[in-house]
Symmetry: C2
Subunit: 416 residues, 2 copies
């Protein structure tokens, strides 16, 4: 029986594994982490709306009923396509007949890795908890300064990058300062906190049509977010950002500006694009290795319009299912098929009662967009329990304007 | 208006603050962490049953409606009763008219601090997440060894200390290995994991009457836990425990054996007991300072039976309320009253459908004990939202035998 190895338990890897259920292959899913994260809601963990457990499930648990699948918690160091082998950190190896590489992407600081400690990005649960602690900690520090040092507290949050993640973080931070925390401090007014969204390009949410971009910007500004386009960041320090020719004093800086493909792609020994993504054939295989597929954020492939497919969950899911189908065809001696993407639409949320949706048949904004966004995200969460929990918490948050998971963890515990 | 400072946002500090609502005093609650933890359910976070956010709430949020209270996130370094001042780490100070010290306790390794890295204790959310990662990680490592090294996987969990926390951890670990994970691995049988509960004394749960102790031990053994009494631990290494004259190979060791009072007590300059707890007068003040109260796990006071009050939530809550009442009396020029403890009973849970309760009017065990335990714990959780969330998750866990929050976080992410 052919052995299919899938590297990565994100949307791409998971959908590939599921598509191989009941097929005449043996599947091993390998991930460095034991859990799949529902990335579209990660910003809600970062902004204290949901708990990590609400949006993440063990990969092993998701695939537990699929008897031809096993899951391995391991870190892949490199791939050796010539020997059809995967080498783990530490030197152990495993062999494959077919390989699906779905190792995804991480933050990129455009060559400025020294910005990383001052401006955390949002890709993992740990990132989200780090951001949560920084944001909530900034409000606590403002109160502390006001009490102990008698200094007036000035809070400024800077979000770098006006894509969907940056917009979602900015909207959520505005709601936290204007609504959630409005009554909780005695010595400064949390509502006076400034939230700046910096975008290097001419517009935020550039993947959306102009009317929706304008609606999103309008809703952000109504929430009190200062949106600055054409404002590239040139330096990030401990509590300062240089952007657009000026220096901004920042309590916290959050990074939502760029991603880089997993370094695992480079170990395949085939051409990469400028972002480090692996150039794949239309059937998702790589040059010279018809048994190796690369999918999701790590794959570089142009659509029929000549533009590369975007690094979004939908593309990863569809590529995962397609690579799995092609592997089944290969084991049956049939020719592989070219990938075709079916775009069901893009969404981004700004906050309470405000989201935009660019769908095949309609453009949604405001309350209808938000209701549709809620519906789609609840529907796509994995597991009945997570759906119920998220619904309960969203209902509570909607009614009370509160965010419940306001925990600052991982504080220095040396004083125990 | 008199300024009351409360150090610590645990049960004692919180109940003191609440009792001072609407009184003619100004209250400052100081804690190193921004959240109150519902300690009795901390073991459920450690064993993947609940999320941190389900059992913890921001202290600031709990007290948000109480206009005479402010909350400060700060680390107290020492207390200077002669100057009526509190000194924070870094040197800033705050003055008080009345002080309630409710700084609690932490783990104690009986002089063996080198055991700490190998045998984490359970006092904070971070502790609970650390234990969760170690326990789940041990199962993942067993599968990895079986696949990559071809070694048979042998899992042994050792819990040191047979008090309520040790019993709860042992019962939950047994359920995880025998039920939750039973179907999730392909290369070893999680049900074969050994769970050892080591107790130095002649009996587990020594605070309970004999019939309940026996019932608890019976239920633990039915779950597959090996209970070893009269088995003091003499050494803990990276993966080994010396106990009762033998060396036990252990995948993970958990510490539930001892607590030590907060070092803050020693800075008061008054006599301590052998465990480092502050000897308090019957009215909960300390010698020489009628305006300083010490309560909860940090206080040492004997009851009418000549035995010291135990370090449990109930004692802390009642002491907190009593100290607050005494402060109000002092501001009104009335004499202070002696503390009297009203014991509503002790409980410990072993697992599904099994708990013991030593109540004033009845002794409960088995299913009735468990139902009563559920009722009491849901009732005492702070906040409607937390109650609903915990109920939903317990219902789901009861129906499915699953534990949902099986996340291994804080993994080494250097390979990003």
């Amino acid at each position: 029986m052919a052995h299919v190895v899938i590297i990565g338990g994100g949307f791409g890897g998971l959908y590939a594994a599921k598509r191989l259920a009941g097929k005449d292959v043996r599947v091993t899913v390998i991930d460095r982490r034991n859990h799949h994260v529902f990335q579209p809601l990660l910003y809600q963990v970062a902004t204290a709306g949901l708990s990590p457990g609400d949006i993440a499930s063990p990969i092993r648990w998701i695939l537990r009923r699929q008897k031809n699948v096993e899951v391995l918690l391991e870190t892949v160091e490199r791939i050796d396509p010539a020997r059809r082998a995967i080498v783990f950190r530490g030197g152990a190896e495993t062999a494959y007949d077919y390989l699906i590489v779905a190792a995804g992407a991480t933050h990129a600081y455009f060559g400025h890795d020294d910005w990383r400690p001052h401006a955390p990005g949002l890709k993992t649960l740990e990132d989200a908890l780090d951001i949560r602690s920084r944001v909530l900690g900034a409000f606590e520090a403002a109160e502390r300064d006001a009490v102990l040092a008698g200094r007036p507290a000035a809070l400024t949050f800077v979000i770098v990058g006006g894509g969907p993640t940056g917009v979602e973080l900015a909207g959520a931070l505005a709601e936290i300062s204007k609504q959630t925390l409005a009554q909780d401090f005695r010595h400064f007014d949390p509502r006076a906190a400034r939230i700046l969204l910096l975008e290097a390009g001419p517009s935020i949410l550039s993947a959306f049509p102009e009317p929706l971009r304008a609606a999103a910007r309008h809703d952000l500004e109504r929430l009190g977010v200062e949106v600055r386009t054409n404002t590239p960041v040139t330096r990030i320090g401990p509590h300062a950002v240089d952007a657009g020719g000026a220096t901004i004093d920042a309590s916290s800086v959050l990074w939502a500006a760029g991603v880089a493909a997993s370094p695992l792609g480079a170990t395949l020994g085939v051409p990469l694009d400028r972002a480090g993504r692996v150039l794949v054939n239309p059937d998702l295989t790589i040059a010279g290795h018809a048994n190796v597929f690369v999918i999701g954020d790590l794959a570089s492939l142009n659509g029929p319009d000549g533009k590369p497919y975007p690094g979004v969950a939908q593309v990863a899911m569809q590529m995962g299912a397609h690579a799995a189908n092609n592997i089944v065809r290969a084991t049956e001696g049939q020719p592989l098929r070219a990938f075709r993407y079916k775009n069901f639409g893009n969404m981004a949320t700004i906050g309470r009662k405000s989201a935009i949706g660019d769908l095949p048949l309609a453009q949604l904004k405001g309350l209808p967009g938000w209701l549709f966004w809620l519906f789609v995200h609840i529907l796509n969460l994995i597991g009945f329990r997570n759906r119920v929990l998220v619904m309960v918490q969203w209902a509570w948050a909607y009614l009370t304007y509160q965010r419940a998971v306001r925990l600052i963890t991982s504080v220095d515990s040396s004083a125990e």
